[in-house]
């Protein structure tokens, strides 16, 4: 699946989105791609996911996220080719 902001006209960034555990169950997918207008942040990507994917609204507005396997904040800008991971509350150990 590939989700794109319908009104997009300017330069865009494409990111791979990965969902894990409970979030993968909610969305019914473990991976998708997302295309957003530049400049875009993690928060913009989450907003688009919540509005465009079936059951997306069941994701929290500010989930724990990682870009390229590092924890980041919602305000972090996205670069083309980033791997954006949606992390449910952690439960290691």
């Amino acid at each position: 699946m590939h989700f794109r902001d319908a009104l997009s006209s300017s330069t865009t960034v494409t990111v791979t989105v990965r969902a894990f555990a409970r979030y993968a169950e909610i969305l019914g997918l473990e991976e998708t791609t997302l295309e957003l207008d530049e400049p875009a942040t993690v928060s913009d990507a989450v907003k688009l996911l919540r509005s465009s994917i079936p059951n997306g609204s069941r994701l929290p507005e500010r989930p724990l996220v990682a870009i390229n396997r590092e924890h980041v904040l919602a305000e972090t800008p996205l670069q083309d080719g980033d791997e954006l991971a949606l992390l449910p509350p952690l439960a290691g150990g």
Binding site: R18, F20, A21, R22, A66, R69, E70, H71, A85, L87, P88, P89, L90, A91, G92, G93
Partner: protein, 140 residues
Amino acid sequence: MSFVTRQPIDGAALLAQVADPGLGGTALFVGSVRRGKEDGPVEAIEYSAYETMLEEEFGRIVTEIRSRWREARVVGVHRLGRIPAGEISIAVAAAAPHRAEAFAACRHAIEEAKKRLPVWKKEIFQDGSEAWRDNESRLA
């Protein structure tokens, strides 16, 4: 070295990995699957992870420890998959010249691991029902 295994964890093997004649104190933390009782007896926990990130994040924790306790040696391993109650899910060993640094480094490793590793667990109860469980709160 990988921080992930799907086999039973051997604490003694971790102790051997950090052993060094110059390091006189070694601390080993071992976390096991707890039977629990709030929702009924837990039979096992199914652990899943974002494995590539788990490896990198554990590596970053080890790097932090090496910069803070320069002489310490630390190793850790997290088991994934279905782990029966009573068996080890995570183990961390830290060796240092003296016990204070060994305890501190070991404590740092396990506390940061619990806070930062992208790992999830689903409790499997004796009646066959299942529930996601995180480190902060109980999920509906």
